[in-house]
């Protein structure tokens, strides 16, 4: 779709996505301003990220998808290298090595892995004919698992889960046969006890136990969820109003600017605010599904499809955690939670989506 159609200069963009993302970003700044209790520095920093992100999104929309196809490997391997650098050389914050310090700001390379891994896998898989044979399935599975392990080591279970999902979405969309999906799922279920015993840290087990029985430990790990449910529930239909949330303002709500910002929105803007928010997310999601189905070729389909699924799963996991139906993992609310890498990575993802949706094939292959 063309916005300006000159002979030499043409801007590729999607008006539905652009305006809905712009709306969501603005809403996000508004919420963040309230959640940060008028801390202007948080607001200004996030505003800068939004402005840069929107610009970056438009910029990333311009190249032909063929460019992403060509650079898919390069982008992916650079991301992996950065993750490794972060683990070994990055600053340790709260016991985790997720960041690289750039002086002005820090970046979290794992956030970008959830975008470049699907692009990389799409580029790999489009060259294979259907149905995908065993070898072509095994290689992506190993790569996905390696990425997952790498990010888990940081440790960052939230992002690692998302990376795992992003890879699985690609395999699913690329036409992985149902039998394989069924068997893998069966194996996964059977290995759950093993994973529980050998893979999860005690605090992670506690979080799952808390989810199943939140009242068991109301002042320990259940505290966050209990407080977040109180925040949302006490918002009622219209909410308590901008900056009026007592749960957030009196520090009952944890992480109110990052992972738990949805609870602040629920408290201050009620069911009405949450409905508008959810409608916007799902509007963006369904717009992307439409774009994926109508995309020009298989590579574009796979990339758009998987990135939009990554987007909606981030939303669903974050909200599911905040409202107490999923265990607590570190997961931002896309375009709203404070945090540069998360928001920038989604702008880039949507830039790629728009590029792939708006560049129509000129010459049939």
């Amino acid at each position: 779709m063309r916005f300006l159609d000159y002979k030499i200069f043409r801007i590729y963009y999607d008006p539905y996505l652009f305006f809905s993302i712009f709306f969501l970003s603005t809403l996000g700044l508004f919420f963040l301003y309230s959640a940060s209790q008028g801390d202007l520095s948080i607001f200004l920093k996030q505003s800068a990220f939004v402005v840069i992100g929107l610009g970056l999104m438009i910029l990333v929309s311009q190249p032909d998808p063929q460019v992403y196809f060509s650079y898919a490997n390069g982008a992916f391997f650079v991301t992996i290298a950065l993750i490794i650098i972060a683990i070994f050389f990055g600053p340790t914050i709260n016991g985790a090595n997720r960041w690289i310090d750039l002086g002005v700001t820090t970046i979290q390379p794992s956030e970008f892995c959830k975008i470049f891994l699907p692009v990389f896998l799409s580029a790999y898989l489009v060259q294979k004919s259907l149905p995908i044979n065993f070898k072509s399935t095994l290689i992506p599975v190993l790569i996905i698992f390696a990425c997952f392990m790498l990010v888990s080591l940081q440790p960052d279970l939230g992002t690692a889960t998302l990376i795992l999902l992003s890879g699985l979405f690609i395999l699913f969309l690329a036409g992985l046969n149902w039998k394989f999906i069924g068997i893998s799922f069966g194996v996964f279920i059977l290995s759950l006890p093993f994973l529980w015993n050998n893979f999860l840290a005690p605090f992670q087990k506690q979080r799952i136990a808390t989810l199943l029985n939140p009242e068991s430990d109301p002042f320990g790990s259940g505290w966050n969820i209990a407080q977040s449910k109180i925040a949302i529930g006490s918002g009622g239909f219209f909410g308590k109003g901008f900056g009026e949330g007592t749960q957030a303002n009196l520090y009952f709500l944890p992480e109110s600017e990052t992972d738990f910002i949805f609870a602040v929105i629920g408290e201050e803007f009620g069911l009405l605010g949450i409905s508008i928010l959810m409608l916007t997310y799902f509007f963006i999601f369904f717009r992307c599904i439409y774009l994926a189905i109508t995309a020009r070729d298989r590579f574009c389909r796979l990339v758009i499809g998987s990135l939009s699924l990554v987007f909606i799963s981030t939303f669903v996991i974050n909200v599911g955690m905040v409202i107490g139906i999923l265990p607590v993992v570190g997961m931002p609310l896309p375009f709203i939670s404070q945090g540069g890498s998360s928001i920038i990575s989604f702008y880039i993802a949507f830039g790629i989506i728009v590029s792939m949706a708006s560049h129509k094939k000129l010459i049939p292959r």
Binding site: S129, L130, F169, F172, L173, G175, Q227, K229, I230, A231, I232, G233, S234, G235, G236, F237, T246, Q247, L250, Y251, F252, G266, E267, G270, L271, I274, S275, M278, F282, F285, F286, I289, A292, I293, R298, R301, L302, G305, L309, I312, S313, V316, V319, G320, I323, G324, I325
Partner: protein, 609 residues
């Protein structure tokens, strides 16, 4: 063609799968919305109040405790306002640093750091507050006020110290106060149903009576709690405070206790182990209730160091033991008037009946010898002489003729084996010995010799000082009596002994013989004759702790002061219209007449004056 077909298959597969995925996420979206709807609409009320409860805490305000008076309206216990420096241990991260900081401007030299650390950990565990220093000076108050903002976990608040004006005199009778028990807090929670944070209520200086009248009359003295509401943040910092209902001061307690007699009792006892109980005969109210040695009730109410407490608790004299209510002593010869009344009422003897007293009694069944205290005996002895001179042989003989099943009922009528007082704290009712009791306790049958021993108040017969006082009161008032109490309780029923054959004349003669214990030239307490300004009736007792064959054996035994006889006396006066009855026990005091006697006289003097 095959490539076109391949593309067609691929597009179809992709479309199917992405639509399937969209449907799944759409359904998940609906689940999320349903949960949010459930939180915000269906359960709005409970979450709204939860959010409100989060930020507000309701605290109980302790009402001022009622004042305790003696019978002449002298204040015995009141409250002193005190500005206390209080810390909230659960909010303290580094205790040493905090103490160092505070001690730079408030004198903490008196703080026993080891004790405090223990209390600190305890308080932290239960999220209770802890008083760091009581009664800080005006200067310290100001110094703290200017630094207030530096301390998140420390504050100064006006509290009240429970203050006994005579901390040593009434420590057992009135008791002391302390932090409320869990049960108290639970009942308080029911009383104040808006109270949602019970740990916090403890922290507002709530107190409860622990022993004595402070405990028995706790509800009466406590008054009604007020409430205040605080808006707090998640870290527990107070943002605002508002009084919801003002507390209602507790009622004042007017006791029947008499200050002067306690002072007399205290100085007469001189810290020896024992107890004194005196009763106002007209009302059956207790006027003197003193257990010795004693301790400072103020220290127990308002804080005592572990060291001081350890000294008290480990003292061989056991100052915390309430001897007046729980001390078990053989009444010894003091029981003889009761035996005499049993004998007269059952017509086993009369005033003319006499025996030849050789100084011992031989039990006909097995030839066992029961010795009198006087070698050679009292000669020809009738009842009057037997009481005055405390002839054991006479009462052995009388007890030998008694039926234990009937005798035990007389003991009960005279107040043994049951609680004497309606509103005393933790009274021991003890028991009356009888054959069934002996089988149960000792798995042994009752011997005639057991009954003979009861005749001189030894053997299995045991009573507490308060029971002895009630017994003295019943004797003094010729059988008419009420239950004892610590207040002038007008609702008590008057009771009378059910005696078949005892006449007023018999009562008068009993009184006369007891007067003669002091006034007579051969009375066992004749030494008291010149100590008093009015006529007193008395009966002494010397309670043997070990059963011995002869005087010589006793001389050996008394080398161990803990095995020396207990001195007992019951007395009432002034005669002919007695107003007060008193019982005195001095542990290992040896002589009822010369050791317990003067104490009883001092107390009666103080009461009658």
């Amino acid at each position: 063609m095959s490539k076109l077909n391949q593309t067609y298959v691929e597009v179809r597969s992709f479309t199917e799968r992405i639509i399937l995925a969209s449907i799944i996420f759409f359904v998940v979206g609906i689940v999320i919305f349903a949960q949010v709807f459930s939180l915000q609409v269906l359960n709005f009320d409970s979450y709204e109040s939860a959010a409100l409860n989060n930020k507000t805490e309701t605290l109980a305000i302790q009402p001022l405790r009622g004042i305790i008076y003696d019978r002449n309206n002298n204040i015995l216990v009141n409250n002193i306002p005190s500005f206390d420096l209080i810390i909230v241990p659960s909010r303290v991260e580094n205790l040493d640093l905090l103490l160092q900081h505070i001690s730079s401007f408030i004198n903490l030299e008196d703080l026993k750091i080891e004790d405090f650390r223990l209390q600190f950990n305890e308080a932290k565990k239960f999220n209770r507050e802890l008083t760091l220093k009581r009664n800080i000076t005006e200067e310290e108050k100001i110094k703290f006020a200017v630094r207030n903002h530096l301390f998140e976990a420390v504050f100064v608040e006006q509290r009240y110290l429970r203050n006994s004006l005579y901390p040593e005199l009434f420590s057992h009778a009135l008791g002391y106060v302390g932090n409320p028990s869990e049960e108290k807090l639970t009942s308080l929670k029911t009383q104040l149903n808006s109270l949602n944070n019970i740990e916090q209520t403890y922290t507002s200086g709530l107190i409860e009576g622990k022993i004595g009248a402070e405990n028995i009359y706790d509800t009466f003295l406590s008054g009604e709690f007020g409430t205040k509401q605080r808006e707090v943040d998640a870290r527990g910092r107070t943002l605002s405070e508002e009084i919801v209902s003002t507390p209602k001061m507790g009622s004042d307690l007017y006791t029947s206790l008499d200050l002067a007699s306690h002072q007399a009792a205290f100085s007469a006892m001189q810290g020896r182990r024992g107890a004194i109980v005196a009763v106002d005969i007209q009302t059956g109210s207790i006027v003197t209730l003193f257990s010795s040695p004693t301790f400072s009730s103020n220290k127990l109410s308002n804080g005592i160091s572990q060291d001081e407490f350890k000294i008290l608790i480990e003292s061989p004299d056991k100052p915390f033991f309430d001897r007046a209510m729980r001390g078990r002593y053989p009444p010894a010869s003091a029981i003889k008037p009761a035996i005499a009344i049993y004998g007269l009422d059952n017509r086993l003897i009369d005033w003319k009946f006499s025996i030849e007293d050789p100084g011992f009694f031989v039990l006909p069944e097995d030839g066992r010898i029961y010795r009198d205290w006087k070698e050679g005996g009292h000669g020809k002895t009738n009842l009057f002489k037997a009481i005055t001179q405390s002839s054991n042989t006479y009462f052995f003989e009388l007890a030998y003729r008694s039926d234990i099943k009937s005798l035990k009922n007389y003991f009960k009528d005279f107040g043994l084996g049951k609680k004497a007082c309606l509103d005393c704290f933790n009274e021991d009712s003890v028991f009356v010995p009888e054959p069934e009791w002996k089988i149960k306790e000792h798995n042994f049958g009752w011997f005639k010799g057991d009954t003979v021993n009861l005749g001189v108040g030894q053997g299995y017969l045991i009573a507490t000082p308060v029971q002895l006082a009630k017994y003295a009161y019943i004797l003094a008032n010729k059988g008419v009596h009420k239950d004892l109490s610590l207040t002038f309780n007008s609702t008590k029923d008057s009771k009378e002994l059910e005696l078949r054959n005892l006449s007023q004349d018999d009562w008068s003669k009993i009184h006369e013989s007891m007067v003669n214990v002091i006034e007579g030239n051969t009375g066992t307490a004749r030494r008291l004759k010149n100590l008093k300004t009015f006529t007193v009736a008395a009966k002494t007792g010397t309670a043997e702790l070990v059963s011995l064959e002869s005087k010589e054996d006793y001389e050996e035994t008394r080398l161990d002061s803990n095995l020396r006889d207990h001195a007992v006396i019951i007395a009432f006066g002034p005669i002919p219209n007695p107003r007060y009855a008193v019982s005195v026990v001095v542990e290992n005091g040896e002589s009822g007449g010369s050791v317990a006697g003067p104490i009883a006289i001092d107390v009666l003097e103080a009461l009658i004056k």
